[in-house]
């Protein structure tokens, strides 16, 4: 315990005794987020139960120079909410009120701890919903969605979190409350709203958000297409998008994923197929009919060995059941798995999947693929056994190689999970020294002392050099006069 008891007393004065956790046994709950491979016991957890307490806690941390890691529901997959030594975890789960739904202007205003799915549930009586739907939407909270710029199945057509937030209230480390964005579709001056979204808790703490709601589509239809080769399935994805069709969702499962989920949920998937595509279309009935006919023709031309159109809502749900249960299904066939998250240009899908298989073989590990093919967002699940010494290190190394492969073909190391703690080494691959320096300068404009989620999302050049990823040549480093290594 490095945090002074006097500081703990001051925290208790702000949020009340019951909302401060200092007992090591209870702190254990907060030692990791959903990426359980990395753990760090926090020194203190503070759980405000009113919005007003948040700036007060941040101001206190600023005065005492205590690092702060904000945490929502803890469903993050990149270690973004991993505690930092000597710091506090600021848990926002108690701020879970929906402040209002405005059906005329089609917005919802919510506190950060509101669960993603609860927003659509509150909007449903008005025929509206909130489109971004991360797979964890039943549990994940909107504050975390904003911090990570979360995506999901439907963001191919409806965009990421950044496209669906109108305004946020952001508490700064000095305890100021900033309103970014506004009630209109754009703000004035620099687009600080876009900058704050996806900033992984490094710039401020979201204390309130106003979100755009859309009318619920009256008709939804799903196609399942089976392919004899991964190449055909990958090409079909490019064909569909290239032909001008933008499905609400376009998901790919490889043979290993099909077999694992079929054994688990019995969705009726063709287990011999090398890959299946699930293609969801939504909107006005006439539009869905037209799109369905085009999608079917395109999939057939791409060589689909079988195409099924869901006959009713029950069958539609069965088609999706496998996809949605893919992660727990894989959990049944391997003792542990490590979920990666990279994005590539769609046209390289088949080649990248083949290369992933080669890499996996080299490490002696298996990889299962089930992912958002429509936007090229891969989620290779690397199977390993945490009980076998060295196995996780191998999985981690393979994951790193896969992300670097994504960068090599023109993609990125994270499509929707964030960099967090996990992908710091690969940031040194995707970005050059000057770019990382620019990120640090930007961060300083918001948080000069570096107290908000320090050490996450953007590595220091020192760290890159340690990892051997940053190749610095004499004069190319921006400020060679500074001692760094």
């Amino acid at each position: 315990m490095t945090i002074a008891s006097s500081f703990i007393r001051l925290c208790r004065q702000i949020v009340g005794d019951a909302n401060v956790i200092a007992d090591p046994a209870l702190l254990r709950v907060y030692e990791c987020d959903a990426l359980a491979a990395y753990t760090q016991l926090p020194d203190l957890v503070v759980l405000p139960d009113s919005v007003e307490q948040i700036p007060a806690v941040l101001r206190l941390c600023h005065v005492h120079q205590i690092p702060v890691v904000a945490r929502g529901a803890g469903t993050g997959l990149s270690g973004g909410a991993l505690p930092v030594p000597g710091g506090i975890v600021l848990g926002l789960a108690k701020l879970n009120r929906i402040l209002g739904v405005d059906p005329i202007n089609r917005t919802a205003t919510v506190q950060p701890g509101v669960r993603n799915l609860a927003i659509s549930e509150a909007a449903r009586p008005h025929g509206l919903y909130y489109p971004p739907d991360p797979s964890s939407q039943i549990a994940c909270s909107i504050g975390g969605n904003i911090a990570e710029n979360a995506g999901g199945v439907h963001c191919l057509k409806y965009g990421l979190t950044v496209h669906n937030v109108l305004q946020i209230k952001l508490a700064t480390i000095t305890g100021e409350l900033l309103t970014l964005g506004g009630s209109g579709l754009d703000g004035a001056g620099y687009d600080l709203l876009a900058l704050a979204i996806g900033s992984e808790g490094l710039l401020g703490v979201v204390v309130e958000a106003t979100l755009r709601l859309l009318p619920t589509p009256p008709r939804v239809q799903v196609l399942l297409a089976a392919f004899a080769t991964i190449e055909q399935a990958g090409a079909a994805v490019a064909d569909i998008i290239g032909a001008g069709l933008i499905p609400a969702g376009l998901e790919l499962m490889d043979n290993a994923a099909i077999r694992a989920t079929e054994a688990f949920v019995h969705a009726g998937y063709p287990v011999e197929a090398a890959a299946i595509l699930l293609c969801e279309l939504d909107g006005q009935p006439e539009q869905v009919d037209a799109d369905l006919a085009r999608a079917e023709a395109l999939l057939r031309a791409a060589g689909a060995s079988e195409i099924r159109v869901a006959a009713d809502a029950a069958q539609r749900q069965r088609f999706w059941a496998g996809r949605k249960a893919a992660f727990p299904a894989v959990g049944r066939i391997a003792s542990d798995y490590y979920c990666m998250d990279g994005t590539i240009p769609r046209r390289h899908l088949a080649a990248v999947l083949a290369e992933i298989a080669t890499l996996a073989e080299r490490y002696g590990l298996s990889v299962v693929n089930v992912f958002h093919a429509g936007d090229g967002n891969l989620h290779p699940l690397i199977l390993y056994d945490a009980g076998r010494p060295g196995d996780f290190d191998k999985a981690e190394a393979l994951g790193g190689d896969i992300l670097e492969l994504c960068v090599r073909v023109g993609g990125t190391i994270t499509g929707e999970h964030g960099v967090g703690h996990e992908k710091l080494p690969q940031m040194c691959v995707q970005f050059q020294a000057a770019e990382l320096e620019q990120f640090h300068a930007l961060k300083q404009a918001f948080d000069p002392d570096g107290l908000l989620n320090p050490g996450k999302a953007v590595p220091t050049l020192h760290r890159c050099a340690e990892l051997g990823k940053m190749h610095v040549h004499g004069g190319r480093l921006p400020h060679p006069e500074l001692e760094r290594f």
């Binding site: 710029n149 209109g184 940031m427 300083q444």
Partner: protein, 351 residues
Amino acid sequence: MTNADMSDVVVEQIRQAGAARRPLRIVGGNSKTFYGGADTADTVLSLAEHRGIIAYEPSELVITARAGTPLADINETLTEHRQMLGFEPPAFGTRATLGGTLACGFSGPRRPFAGSARDFMLGCRIVNGRAETLNFGGRVIKNVAGFDVSRLMVGALGTLGVLLEASLRVLPMPEAELTLAQSLAEDQALAAMNRLQGQSLPLSALSHHDGRLRVRLSGAETAVAAAAARIGGEILGDGPEYWHALREQALAFFAETGDLWRLSVSPAALLSALPGRQLLDWGGALRWLKTDAPAEAVHAAARAVGGHAVLWRGADKTAWLSAEPALAGLQSRLCAAFDPYGLFNPGRMPF
């Protein structure tokens, strides 16, 4: 279409300007100089020769081009593949470039239904005030690595860095489009526009002025026809010309004398009475106001409904944007983080 990579020349000019602490006025096609505060720099940094489409993959829905590429060239290339810039940017003349389009961040009538300029921004290459060439974002739709500097560049009026190139998401052109019109008073039109937007319809533009509500529908032929039958109204033969004229501000409304204000507000907001005449775009979320009211009154009216106002065209541009005091310090620190010597477009932004 000409192609030329002038990056080295641009970087060198910025390096020299930095060494001499001599500010630069960044210019592309000079089509939008009316917007923003008055630029006080004497030296011009022209991006007009730095042009050309670098990459375009229709199946990826992504185009990458140099900042000086004429918007017209980009539109022409996309049209060949039946694709388009979904934010329907106004050009205000024939000389508009991609860089200026993004630096201003204007979006046309399709914006509420398809997204804004910043929504389509995927990645960019910029030069900061230290004359460093930096890459942010990329060419894929989903990318959350690092801070979203690319989107921050949109609407920054060049004050954070010089755009060298940008990658934008593009959209397929709709199979069919149709424009409906009906005569309605302004308050009725506002209610009608919001009623329509609360339903699942293939809307792609909604405007009101001169007592007429206009509705554009885009999508499959059958879907557009079905929606038109449901909404009702007169089918306009010159729909495309109308939306073009609205986007380019070629309608008579924009030529009338007086200050022109742009108010971004919630789509159903009822503004406190200001003198003058207004045109509603973006389904009510954008109000163009011709008024003699003092700047403070217009800013206050927009702020009262949670929105903001900017003086678009007017005699006295000193109060074109009302910067929130709480944000001003942050915005100026952010500017200094990119442009520590204050080289880029001094005076264009109020901080």
